[in-house]
Amino acid sequence: MRKHHALLLLCILFIQAKLSAQTNTTISGYVREKGSKELLIGVNVYVPSLSTGISTNTYGFYSLTLPKTDSLTLVFSFVGYSKKIVKLPFNRNQEYNVELESDLVLDELIVNAQRQDNALSETPQMSKIDIPVNQIKKIPTLLGEKDVLKVIQLMPGVQKGSEGSSGLYVRGGGPDQNLIILDDANVYNASHLFGFFSTFNGDAIKSVELTKGGFPARYGGRLSSVVEMNMKDGNKQKLSGEGGIGLISSRLVLEGPIKLNKNKPVKASYIVSGRRTYLDVVSRPFIKAQNKKSGIDGTGGYFFYDLNAKLNFELGSKDKLYLSGYFGRDIFTIKSNSSTETFKNGINWGNATSTLRWNHQFNQKLFANTSLIFSDYQFNISGEEKIKDIENDRETSFLINYQSAIRDFSLKYDLDFFLNRFHTFRIGLQTTAHHFTPEASILKDSQSNLNFENKKTLNTLESGIYLEDTWHPVENIKVNAGLRFSHYLTDGKQYFKPEPRISASYKFSKDMALKASYAEMNQYLHLLSNTGIGLPTDLWVPSTTKTPPQHSRQFAVGLAKDLNEAKGISITLEGYYKNMNRIINYKEGASFLEIGSPEVTDKNTWEDKITSGIGESYGIEFLLQKKIGKFSGWAGYTLSRTVWQFPELNFGQEFFPKYDRRHDISLVGIYEVSKRITLSSTWVYGTGNALTVPISEYSAYVNGGSSNPGWTSNGVFPYQVNEYGGKNSFRAEPYHRLDFGIQFHKQKKRHERTWDFSVYNVYNRKNPFFYTVGSNLSNNFFGGNNFQNIDQKMVLKRYSLFPIVPSFSYNFKF
């Protein structure tokens, strides 16, 4: 029966297409940036006479099929670019490529008159925010490191984790529930320096798009959000570049054309970018001095680096090839030497991704992309200790290595089918072979003749096919409906899940739309994270026979109003309800690191340490945004509540997860005082994290049963335990912070330079990083509770990380 329905639908579509071909005509093409020829994503192509339009896809391509007419007016508009209005004869199929001029090169006054935003009320998509890449560079940040993910954290519905962390907590979801894609490749741990900086170098990024709900069917595999980033293709006109020298790192981007034949137009270009920190160099003397104080001859260092590269070739007017890659590593080492003891240890982690994409345009209406993707994430801890026993002329050694890794190979095929002005279809499939090494350890101890290696790997296959239709049935209604089937094969077990998705908008006035959406998502990978202090000790683990995939359902309704289109002011108000099933967490008492005897390590796997439960999150988000003009920025507010319930945690009672946040406010303002000076400021406020802290200590007597009178009273004996008053029942102090930045731009002969001064945490708020209970008389990190001291009390201590931090950087562009 279902088959018949599908056939009938196809027939209708075919007939409709045939009929419309007689009366309709198609215009298609690419939209590029004037000068660099960079393809522009998400440009609004609008037909005012028919109140219809479309956006360019990820590869800058658009196609519109409309009734034949003598002439047609098309409006091309995109944030940060001047609007282009063209009038064309429209009685035959034609290709029309457009170049838009960036505002930056236009005079300020003209810009204000000409600029236009992509009206929010025009699209059926909701819960989606385009992060303006230009604004990212103007927003003040910690130590001047411009950061894409930090800007996303300033959006309503998105919360950050602890101080400095670049993790995203979207609508009650965890940091693993975000699909972070860079040129189609998954990035697993998008952070440097224990989460203080994200791995994405803003200079090389062309577009950033965050989707929090109402997910289109083309996305799958995560519950809470999609952050899709695309790298720039590279300037096709001339060699250009930009870079910066900051307090902790320097960066450089170079891009330019690849001229294969001097007499022909440029068909290829490249972009390369790199960033490296010099924290290791800066901190080395301090660490050395600190160690000297403690009588150790030792040193240590930390640095991270990123490399991005992309090549693109136009094989013909209908084919394009892109090869892009990312490679980043964080490396941390500590060494110490003495006459009797040497030790060396370190942590390193990082991602490597590469993507080969081939765009093929079959005809004016059918556009295809094929991607081959590789992604690799690794996390390693290593430690080596050698002790010399001079008296006995012996040496004992101890070695430990711990690794967690995930490696993916994917194939992705997507078709965009621009049928007519009522229907745009997207059809595609993706399949990923995951190779997991959740935990691998090597332990060698010469003293106990231990030589143990434990490496368990697991191969799984994750696939999805989808069909998505953007349907414009009548003038005021737009619908994006789709269905994704996801399939997962692990350890002989298969999961097959349908995921319906729909979002719709009803435009009840020229500039106001009511939107609603529903999406089901499944997630086959889990992130186990329990330190809460930002160490990258998180393990990526797959769904297995014991651990089924996580699942979520999300409803959202919202209002979008364009208050003043010319000034680019819009307002959105959204409410959402999300429930999550089979989410996982560590069991009480579990630790990622439980290395013991070979037997223990071998048998105590991650699957034994986790437990699954349900979660629920709901909230209201408000966003007032002004994208253009001398003053731009946004104000966001979120009121939300997230609750978890796990049979094995908190005695089965509901509790707030750590990042449940009742109120979250962010204010961002950028003011272009003149062409030479830009002021910017942000203020954030968030309810404190829900934490479990000990509030008292007591003797818990248990009945062990032993008759031994020496240490039990008829079998009963006390253990010292803590009272916590319920899981996560302590609320940390609220987090708030003001940052301020000023930039001085100057056009020099051959380049433009910018001095960037910023102050992080202007009013020196001591925001909590974590809390511990310890003695009031000592600042020892652990212990220090010497109970012989009468005046001693156990008190709760707050560890804050960043006081007021001023910084500056020098940036250039040519």
């Binding site: 224990f194 101890d445 330190t531 579990a590 009273s713 008829n714 707050r798 804050s800």
Partner: protein
Amino acid sequence: MKSKYYSFVNIIKVRFLKLLFPVFLGSMLFSCETIIDEIDPSKFPGLEQKLVMASFICPQDTVLRVFLSKSLPIYSEIPKYEPVKVPNAFGDTNLYYKKVIYVKNALVEISDGVNKGTFTMNPVNFEYELRGYKIVSGKTYTLRASVENFKVEANATVPNEVPEIENLKISRYTNYNQGFNKDTVNGFNLTFDWKDFPNQENYYKVFAEYSNYQKTPKEFSNGINNKKEFKNFSTFFWSNNDLNDNLDLINDNLLDGKTIFSPKGQAHEGKSNYCNNGGCFKTEIIKNMPQLFDIQLWHISKDMYQYMKSVRQSSNISDNPFSEPVPVFTNVKNGLGCFAAYNKRVLVMENKF
């Protein structure tokens, strides 16, 4: 008793942390000078000292015992702990300073709704005792304690019956080159099973102890404290996989009405090493004195299961800063601790192995 790997596991763990912490602390150091502040107690509106009451009753008891103490909230001054006399293996007593804030002169009463009993405090160890009060299977009891401004109470229902211990198997083993002293250790393996009561949630605890009489090694018996004889107790450790967890607490989840097999119980003979300049010498087992196995199956209440499990987990993780915190179960109204009931089956047999 912990598993034979316990000390080994801890040594490895401590070594690992020792290696890791410089790295972690180093990261704090260079990211910025860490700022540490004491939090004002007003952040804890509910911070108060609580009365901690623990009592485990069963129909086989001749004396009921209640353990009363007070919690020590953060921000309160650490008191001077009082010593208690604890008998040692040689028949004497030692003074022990336990970190327990004892509660004296409390009014402690038990009632089944009809019969009431009042406990009296033992002045040696500050435990509250009640003799001659019969605990009956299936009945629900209320335990109340009050002192100063503290008033706590809790209820417990005694499980009706206990399954029979079936298929008991005991065997002897010898492990060579165990531990860091490359010692040879003798011990016993023990398993049994029982039939679960169907259509109800059941919780069990398995227990076994081996006891013998020993004397200090000859090499140590020339001094004044010569030839000390003592009774040794070796409690069985229950484990299926040599993990560092005692699996003596069992529930019938997924096993309702079926045969439940005990985990593998292991206990050493319990010989101690005495070392001097001449080397290390072992205690000797006195052959003509009783060597007994005390094997027990307890049918425990759900409260007792949750409480004992959470206390054990909580204390196991106290030395690992990476572990998730473990809240300890309580069923005591206005206080902490646990009042729970169980019923037990006991088998005592001589060592013929």
